[in-house]
Amino acid sequence: MIQQDINELEERSIFIIREAKSKFKNVAALWSMGKDSTTMIALARKAFLGKVPFPVIHIDNGIDFPETYKFRAELAKKWNLDLIVVESEIKPEMSGFACCGANKTVALKKLMEERGFDALIVSIRRDEHGIRAKERYVSPRDRNFKWSYKDQPAELWNDYSSSLDSKGHVRVHPLLDFNEIDIWNYIKKEKVPINPLYFSRNGMRYRSLGCTHCTTAIKSNARNVDDIIKELGTTTTEERAGRDQDKEKEYVMQKLRSLGYM
C-alpha cells in the first residue's frame, strides 16, 4: 500500500471541506465513529480553527459495539460536536444488503428531508472498493438518493458540481484521495482519538468497523497506531474483507451505492 504525502492530502481535504461549507447552505457530515469519519472531523476542526461548523450524524441501528457508543459520547463532548443520533430500525431477519440498504438509507432519507440538508460529507476513500474509486469529490444524489453513476457530472480541477434538482443533495468526499495507511499516518501525526476496537486484543482486531452483525475481526497483534502502520505496509488482503455485505455477491456495492448507501 502506497504511503502518500500527508501534508498534501491534508490541504486538499481542508480545501474540499471549506468548499462544501462555502458553496452549500446546509451542510452535515456522517460520523460512524470509525477511523475515516473521525479523521474527517479532525480535518474539519483544522479547516475552521477548532470548531466544527456543521452537525455530525450517527445513524444508529442499536447494534454497534459498546466501545463505539462510549467513544461517541467522549469525543462528542471533548470536541464540542453538534451530534445528531438517528435511530434506525433493525430487523433480526435482515442482514447485509437488505439491512444496510433499507434500514440505514431510509433513516438517513427521513432526517435529510426533515432538516433540509443540501450537502452531506461522507468519508469514503477510493482505495476501499472498486465502486468507490469511481466517485467524484462532489457527487449529486436525487431526492430519492439515487446515484446516476452512468451520468456523473464533469469534475475538473477544483470545479465541483453545483447542479442540483430541487429536493436532492450532494455527497462531499474530502477523503477520497486517502489510502488506508494514509489515514493511520494522519491519526499518528495529529494524535486523532480513535475507537479502541481497531487495536488488537487477544490476537484479534477490527480493520474496518461496521455494526456487530456484519463486521468480523481479523487476526492481528497490532496494539497501537505504529503497529497498524507496520502491518498495513505488508498486508495483501483487502481492508473490507471483514465486511459481509461486500462479499455477498458481485456488484453489491454498486447496487447499494446507487440506492443511496454510503
Binding site: E11, T237, E250
Partner: protein, 406 residues
Amino acid sequence: MKINKVTLLGHKDHGKSTLIGNMLITSGAASEQRINEAKKTSRKLGRRFEPGYILDSFEEERQGEMTIDTTRAQVKYRDVAFEFIDVPGHEELIKNMISGASYASFALLIVSAKADEGIRPQTKRHIFLAKMLGIDRIIVAVNKMDTIGYDEKEFERIKGELGEFLGGVGIRNDNVYFVPISAYNAENLSAKSPNMKWYKGKPLLDVMRTVVKSNEEVEDPHLRILLQGTIPHETGSMLIGNVLSGSIRSGQRIMILPEGANATVKDLFVKGSRTKSASTGENVAMLLDKPISREPRGSVIYSEGSRQRPSDEIKATVFLTKEIGEKITVRFNGSNLQGKIAINSLIDTTTGSREAPKSGNYALNAADVNIKLGKKIQAEPFTDSRELGRFVLYEGSKFAGIGIIK
C-alpha cells in the same frame, strides 16, 4: 512518497484499462481478491481473463466491455509511484475523459497497432485535449503488437504519423516517447519482451520513471491566493483561501482583485494554528486590517503594487462537448458567471488546422473565442497561472466544455 498522476488517452478498445489492469497485477498492487473477482467475472461472462475488470467495476462496464467513467489506481515501481487515471475512450463519454485527464501531469497514449484499428480521430482529439489541459509530456504505447507479429515497420509508421501530429499541436519532440507493447501479454511493461528485440528503448514503466525523474517544476514566486469565502471569527469574519503561488506573511501589504482594495494582513492561520507565513499549496485563514466590500469568493490576493487588472472580457481557446448558443455560463474558480460567446475561428482537433466559423454543430470541436461576461473577474493567461487561466463552460445546467485563457 510523491504520486505522479498519469492519464491514459486513446480510442475505445485500444487497451487502456487492460494495460492498467496488467500493470497493477505485475507490480503486485492489485490484491488477490480483486484479481480473483475479475477472473470470476470473466469466466461468468464466458470470456478470457480481462485484467481491465480490476478497474472497470461497474456491471455495465464489464458486460458492455467498455469504460464508462474515470477511475484511478496506484502503482509503485522501483523508487517512484504512479497514479493511473483510466478514462473512457468513447466519444460520447468525453466529459468523463476530460474530468479524469484534468488531474494528470503527464499522459500515456494507447494506440492499437492491430489491423483496422491504428490511429483514429479520437486518438488525435485526446492528444489535443491533453495539450489544452496543460499536459506536454506524452508516452505513446503502441499496443497489440502481438497481433501484427511484432512488426517493427508498422511501429515505425505509427511513430512517424503521430510524431508529426504531436509536433503540430505543440508538444516538443524530446517530450514524446514511443514504446511497442502488448498490454494483454504484459510485454515491454516492466521487462523487455524477447519478441521485440529490435526495440532498443526501455520497457514502459522505466520510460515513465525517466519522464517523472527528468521533470523539474519551476515555482512561481509571485503571490496569488484564491479566496473561497469567509468563516466566522470572534473579531468579525476571516477570509479563507488557497495559496496558488508564492508565499505570504503576517504584516504583509496586499491587494485584492477585482475589488482593487489594498490592506494589511493582521493575522494568519494555517491548518488551524496561527503562523507567521504560508506558502504555495497551503489553505489559509486570515484577518485583514479592514473589511472588504464585496463577497470575496473568487477574488484573488496579490502583493500590493501588482500590475494585475480585472476584466469582463476573456480571449480563450475552448473545447466544446455539445452544441451551444450565444448565451453561456462560465464557471470560474467557484463562481458562476453569465456570458456571451463569439466564435472567431474553428479548430479541427484531429488535424489542428484553423478555419473561419461556419454555421452548424461545434460539438467535439475547439475554437478561438471572445467571451463577454456580466461582471469583472480576476483571470490570467493559462501560461502565467493554471488556476486563474482556465474555466468550465455550461449551457444551462449542461456541461458544454472547457476553456483556456490566452
